[in-house]
Symmetry: C2
Subunit: 372 residues, 2 copies
Amino acid sequence: MPSYLPATVGMPLSEVDTPALILDLDAFERNLDRMDASLKGRSIRLRPHAKSHKCPEIALRQIRRGAAGVCCQKVSEAEAMVDGGVPDVLIANEVVGTPKLKRLIALAKRARIAVCADDAGNVAALDEAARAAGVRLDVFVEVNVGANRCGVAPGEPSLRLAQAIARSSNLRFAGLQAYQGAAQHLRKVEERRAAIEAACAHVRETLELLEDARIACERVTGAGTGTYMFEAVSGVYHELQAGSYIFMDVDYAKNDWTESGIPRFEHSLYVWTTVMSRTAPERAVVDAGLKASSVDSGMPRVAELEGAEYVKASDEHGVLKLNGSVRLAVGEKLKLIPGHCDPTVNLYDQYVCVRNGRVEAIWPITARGAVW
Amino acid sequence: MPSYLPATVGMPLSEVDTPALILDLDAFERNLDRMDASLKGRSIRLRPHAKSHKCPEIALRQIRRGAAGVCCQKVSEAEAMVDGGVPDVLIANEVVGTPKLKRLIALAKRARIAVCADDAGNVAALDEAARAAGVRLDVFVEVNVGANRCGVAPGEPSLRLAQAIARSSNLRFAGLQAYQGAAQHLRKVEERRAAIEAACAHVRETLELLEDARIACERVTGAGTGTYMFEAVSGVYHELQAGSYIFMDVDYAKNDWTESGIPRFEHSLYVWTTVMSRTAPERAVVDAGLKASSVDSGMPRVAELEGAEYVKASDEHGVLKLNGSVRLAVGEKLKLIPGHCDPTVNLYDQYVCVRNGRVEAIWPITARGAVW
């Protein structure tokens, strides 16, 4: 809601007000390149998750490079994407309740929209909403491939739900949503690989039942930044939903990537912050606390400065522990690497996009706060 | 940014879309009453912290009941308050950097504004900015009374900074900011009482030096919901900065309050959420994850439903563990009590204010995202 902008185009980074969400455009574009290179020659498409960036400017750049479209988690996120010109959105999540179904169906008249389901009653409600509006809606069965969050059990329960969708006059069975969210931050490559192999076994079991029942499964979609190469080589996935690869964060950087086939994406997203207090030699306080950098997955990390550790976040303060060699004065500015990129992005209304030390663009985060 | 509203005035709560931030107006008003009653007959004023609510509608209600004004942490928060009609704001924090100082001074022409300082260079910058604009600005010395965050050491260092302010042609030494933030969530009453007694000793030591130096100290300001009665009876504080008492949250509810003199404030703030998945008997998934209820201080708690525990938050999902007796269907709605009220409020653009099961008002959270 505040109309104040921390930066203007052309401004040197040093003058950008704090806290601000900084996107290093060179690093961001190198991450896009790395992803493209890692999938080159494979018959699999990227459908990046827009819950990470919440920004049509970024979605359109991904699509121009060949992405099939984007994923969203919420109808309101999808609305922001379609409003921003994105032609193809998979809501990789269940949508429940009459007001949301109406909005979902209205959106399906404006763009290519698909949604997931894991409940027969919800499938009936989707069908009714689609019929009332004269729309045919693509629906994926969400399969629980090991994360134990949403999703029906693989095998027979997934088959039955696919049959219910296929029988519905205004729905089309579009495939399987098979995202193993619990695997993404397992630190060891072998743990992540094993979790995705188990997920693939669940998918194959379900695909065999669908084939026996003569229900065509056009797409299997899933994967995240932590595992996507394992899904890519599995032979069962058609689409990859990685989102965080464009930014990276402290939590993902803790994963081991050795011989995973996944490139070393670099940090491109930062919280720009000012030292606001220096009243003890071992301590600096910065103006970015937990309302400026989400701490759900741990503290942010101080970038490009040895000997300074972000040890404590309160609402509007971050406490840095300094070793004896660090000289930091009140008013100096620092870059922080967020602990978790997605909820940090959700705290801001714009990216301050920087290249060669200057603000090149300001991209609105139009799906910020889009929880519905 | 999303323009969609989850509710309209007059709507039954059951129809309010989710996730939404619900304010139970009866409980909220009872909390205001409890605070007023607890301070009745004491010569101390409330200056509630607006970082908790970020909403002029609430600030004005507090002021109409006798609050001296509000506190803010950021210039942009203070701007939102003044824009909303609040006449008196203490920025209970340091303000650093030329753009912020300019905005601070501009605001001081529109309302009664004060700010804190803990650095001589910052005092000089404040004086210069005030002089350039022809303003005289009230400045408090922030004293480190035990939280080890911002604030100069009590005693001589605080005296020296007060002298620097008093010497500045365009600043006025307004008093001491003495907030013991680290005490607020100590669970035992005696621990909190002891921490505030220690803080008071630091304040008294500083007041004696100020008196010896013939520097008048008009106000000592501080305190939070966890401790405010100890500051109220100390004889050294003039203003209390409690903020969370209007809402309460899971974290504050874990404090012991027995014989603290602090009333039992009740929960008035909720996240309204829908069950979106029920694929296992022991598990329900709701549509409010960590972008809908901040988990920095722990998980939200399920209100008014025995046998359901919110055990895991991901970005857009909350996993509830159910005992065998709980029947919850897809589409049912629940109230969650946020783990930490302040950063949860900062995720939303409005309160859906409910009384007797109906939406009575929608109050904009105009300082949402006001990090500058």
